[in-house]
Each structure stands twice: as C-alpha cells, then as structure tokens.
Symmetry: C2
DNA sequence: ATGAAAGCGCTAACAC
DNA sequence: GTGTTAGCGCTTTCAT
C-alpha cells in the first residue's frame, strides 16, 4: 500500500534522471521535451504513482484549478444536471468544481461573488439562469476581469462566451402543435420576469399565434412566477373564465403541474376537456397524471460545453464568441390531445 | 478598489507591529496571544481586508480545507438538500465542499474514492445512502485512516460518527394511521435492497401490523427498487389481486407516485377506493393529484450536522460516537382517507 | 506570550 | 531541449 508514499516532483526527477523542471513540463504538457525524455518521465510517474500537489501548484502558479458554479434555481433536477455537465468537463480538464448557491435578488450579490473569486481562489465562474441576466453581476465580473461563461443569457451577449438553446423556437413549435390539434383558445402562463430565459418563451407562443388565423386574446396570457403554486393560481384564473381555454401552455413544468392539479380539482378530464403543455421535461413531467407534454433541453451537455468554453478561456485560447446554440425537442405525452 | 491589493500575512504583521507567527495565531484562533495583541492584529486584518491564501496554508499545513461529499442518489431534491446542509457548515467552518457523484455498484468504488482523497486533497468525506452501507467502501476508508461521517447508515455503526433519522418509527406511525383509518389490507412496496436505509422502513410496517389484530399477509408485500417505474409495476401487481389492498404504503415518494399513476389508469378514485402513502416528502409529493401523504425528514439539518461532526473530528476534537438521531414527521395530505 | 528560520511542492524566469 | 534559481504565502518547529 503506497498510501503513505506521497511521491514528489523531485522523486520523479531523480528516478527519471532529469530535472524537476522537465518533469513539470511533461506533467503540464508543455512543448520542448524530447519524446524519449517524455517517456522516461511518464514511466517514473507511473511507477511512483505520482500526482502533483494541487496546493503547491496553486501557490506557485497563482491559479486554483477550481471553477465556481453559481446558481439560484428552485429546480433541483436542473441544478443536478448542470452540476453533472460541469463535473464532466472538470474531470477531463483537471479542475475541481466549487458549487455556490446564491440569491439572484440579493442586493450585494456582485460583491459576494467577487469576494468568492478573490478569497476562495476560483479561476473562473459558470453562471446559470436567472443569474446569467443579473446585469450588476455580469458587469461587475467584466469590470473585475474575472473569466466567466453563462448558460442561457438573454442580454448583454457580448460580455462573455455562452451556451443557449432555441427556447423560443421550441415554444413556437409547441404552440403550433396545439393549433394543429384544433385548439383556438390557448392559454399561456408566462415565466418569472426575473428569469428571462423562461420569460422569453412567450415570444415563441406569440409568433405562432401571429402566423395562424387565430386572433390574439391578451386575456389568455397570465403572469406566472415559475412555481407550482403560481401555476395553479394562474390556472384557476384561466379556467374560471366564461370562455375558458381548451389548452394551456405553461412556461415551465412546475407551473404546468399546477395547472394539472387545478384541472383535477375542477373535475376537468385531460386531455379531453383540457390540454396542458409544459417546458423543461423535469422528473415531475412523467410522474403526474396525465403525463405531461413538454420540451426537453440538453442541460447536461450545455453545462459541459459551457465549462469547456471557460477552461479554454483560462488556457488563453481564443473562444469563439458566437457561442454554442443547442436544440430543444418537444416530447409529446398524454396531457395534450385534439380539441 | 483594493481588488489588486492582495495583502499577505507579512503586510498584516508589519501593520500590526508583530511577527508573522502572531498573525497566524490570531487567524487560526490559537491560544497564547494577549487580548490587546489580538485586537491590534484583527484591526490590521480588517484594514487590509486580509484573507489567508488557501493554497499557501494547504501546502504548509498539509491539509486542504476541503470536504468531499459522496452520493449516488437518483433523487435530485435529496442531493440538493444534502449539499445545502453540508455547505452551511462548510461556510461556517471555513471549508470548501467538493461534490463527487459516483456509482454504488461500481466494483472499484473504494479505490476510486481513495484516489480522490489522495490526489484531490480532501480532508474528510461525507457519505450518503446508499453509499453509507457499502461495506467495501466503509472498510477501505477505515483501513486507510480517512476521516469520514455517514448519513443514515444501517450497519457497522461503530466505523465512524453518523447521523440518522427514526425512519422505522415513522414507518410504524404511518402504518398505524392507515390501520386507524380502517384499512385491513395494506399493501407495502419495499425499498431497493442495496439502499438499506429505505429497505429497513419495512420493519416499521411489520411492527405496526404485529401489534394490530390484523393477520400478516405476505402477498401484500412486494419488492420495489425505489424508482417511479418500479412503483408502478408493484402497484399493478397489488391492484391486480382478487382481494386487492385498500391502501398501499410505498417506501419512498417516487414509488408512491408510480402507485398513484397506476391507480389513475385503473380508474380508481383516491382516497375513496385506494389510500396511498409515501416516504421522503420530495417535491413530487405535493405536485401530484391527489397530493401525497408522506414522511418528511430533516435532510438539510442532518447533512449540516454530519459535516459538523466531520469538522470536529478533523480538528482533533473527540466526537461522541453514539451519533445524532433526528426525527421524521408524518405529513398528511389528500391521498389517504377512511376505508 | 512572541519571534526567527526552515521548509511545504510546485512554477516562472532565465540561463545554458 | 534542458537545468538552475527563486520564490508563491503560509505553518511548523524551536527559541526566547
């Protein structure tokens, strides 16, 4: 058991018959090492089970090899997926991931995050919605020169590299499907205004209606706040109308679940009397009755890609600013049907 | 903007007119510093906004000030809650948290984790179910002398400090309630055998039945695997019986959600024709129809407490091995009612 | 109660 | 292509 061994770079250098610096070059994949030398060193590393000390290299290089992941999202599954994606890249690139839940409406958020960067030795940050659109935070990071990337930002897109999905297009597709099913009165529950990425899904709904021959009725659009409870309240409002909608499209699954509950309590059969659609494909979507037609996003891939962009940036490689755009896909389940 | 300042321990020492070592004593709350000296130093620290460099102290002290959180749990909300609790303690105690999802049935799990400890400079580990009961892992950590704590272990309890809940008692209570509602045929869906903490809830069900005048019918107990789908399959089996149960108690909420779906598909009214109970109080419990009667555990507090025990251990303080036992509570919602 | 000196294991800057 | 020399900012002895 070589658990106590703790080989250092000097041990490797001695065994390989080279200098410390050469070992360092091999470890850090720097150029200017002869192939044969590299192999000797690698053999020594393997034999001694040498692993560089992160603290030593952090101290010497003044970098932490830690990425910070910032989030303020009530959806546990979203956060877990983002973590998973970020971790995949971190493992590949030799970084650690520091998770940092915070409050997007905390007035001193920017200071808090800058303190994290300064004191908790984080080399760069990954911002997720709704933090991606907190102007004060984004500006603060740019000003302080902190490397960062964002998931699904909706504004200030030149501030940093980012990854996003075609949400609006997917919302457009979903609305078109409902129209094709014969629905003419389609209620829409808008997302939390602070959570721009969700809020903007409304544009897709609008676009689809404009293309159709249906006249837009603004009383069919109600403001939600992304939570199950707000979804239920919005549904109560929509379903209480004299000429109630035959379909309701909620900007996320939690709200759609609220719609379904409210419909159950009103004794409405779904999809016979009411079609319901959501967005996100969270676990609840297939755990409720009827199972929810929704839109799935490649969250893990987005996060993994975002972390890659950040690592590239940290390695000094130019990152293409036009960013990565990934595709959502509509998942049809049992909650939608013909009018 | 003192963002570039980067005061070091020398700067503080100079300003306070003391030696580096004295500053170090103050920062680390060591004894043998006169109160007046301490104050001078603290003033200097405040004025310079000094924060110790983690990498420097890690290198010098040969500790990382990082705790590792290990998990392999399909419930995103459980993991998020555990993270939150662990983070609370980490923030207070000056530690960082490294998250490490893994596979409990991976044959080389123990080696993987030991490599993490050895190379990723983690001072101690927090194990969550079902990892808390992976004998090979637990034994490996003990043998290697790695400090660790566990959440909800069911065996080998002397191996390390731990925190647990009175699951079995809560399962007993829940079963009693169903009996009081007049149910005489209560189906039970057991938890995944690998996930001992969940699996042992069965004992509570058994105990309650034994105390009652109801005769135990083993055909009412089916083996689940903690997932929604397995819950649904088990429900299909139970509800397909000639003399089907009037209540079903599933060992966790995901399986209970599966039961509810299956009942919907069979056109059974709940709770009129079937009562359903779950365990865990995950978000889905109040998002489904009917809302689910279940048991709530103080997950965040457990994780926070566990991290505290670990930190104490790392600080060399003796940890009381009898460990902390926290209470669950039954939450009655709409899925249960009189027979 | 306080201080001086010696590293911790690595990278950076500059030789050669 | 490779080696030498200084630190990075702390904690640890061990003095005093």
């Amino acid at each position: 058991m070589s658990l106590l061994a703790k080989a250092t770079i000097d041990d490797v250098a001695a065994l390989a018959g080279v200098s410390m610096k050469t070992v360092s070059r091999v470890v850090n994949k720097e150029p200017n090492v002869r192939a044969s030398t590299r192999e000797k060193v690698q053999a020594a590393i393997a034999q001694l089970e040498y692993r560089p000390s992160q603290s030593a290299r952090s101290l010497a290089a003044n970098r932490s090899y830690v990425l910070g992941l910032l989030y303020d999202n009530p959806s546990a599954s979203y956060v877990i997926d983002v973590q998973e994606g970020a971790l995949q890249t971190c493992r590949r690139a030799g970084y650690d991931l520091l998770i940092h839940p915070c409050r997007h409406n905390e007035p001193e958020l920017a200071d808090e995050v800058l303190a994290l960067v300064r004191h908790s030795r984080v080399d760069g940050l990954i911002l997720t919605p709704p933090l991606s659109d907190i102007t004060q935070l984004v500006d603060g990071l740019v000003e302080a020169g902190v490397p960062f990337v964002r998931l699904s930002p909706t504004e200030n897109k030149q501030a940093c590299p980012y990854v996003q999905t075609n949400d609006q297009e997917a919302a457009y597709d979903m609305t078109c499907r409902l129209l094709e099913l014969g629905h003419e009165r389609i209620g829409f529950i808008a997302g939390h205004p602070d959570h721009r990425a969700v809020a903007e899904r409304y544009q897709g709904y609008l676009a689809a209606l404009k293309e159709s021959r249906i006249k837009f009725d603004k009383t069919l659009v109600v403001q939600g706040y992304n939570s199950f409870d707000s979804g239920r309240e919005c549904a109560a409002q929509l379903l209480g109308m004299n000429d109630r909608p035959t379909a309701i499209f909620a900007s996320n699954d939690d709200m759609a679940a609220g719609v379904i509950i409210e419909a159950h309590h009103r004794g409405l059969a779904m999809p016979a009397e009411l079609s319901v659609a959501g967005f996100d494909d969270t676990p609840v979507a297939h755990q409720i009755y009827p199972s929810l037609t929704t839109v799935s996003q490649p969250i893990t891939e987005m996060a993994s890609k975002a972390a890659e962009l950040l690592v590239k940036q940290l390695q000094g490689k130019a990152v293409q600013m036009p960013a990565a755009i990934m595709s959502c896909r509509v998942i049809v389940r049992d909650s939608t049907g013909k009018r």
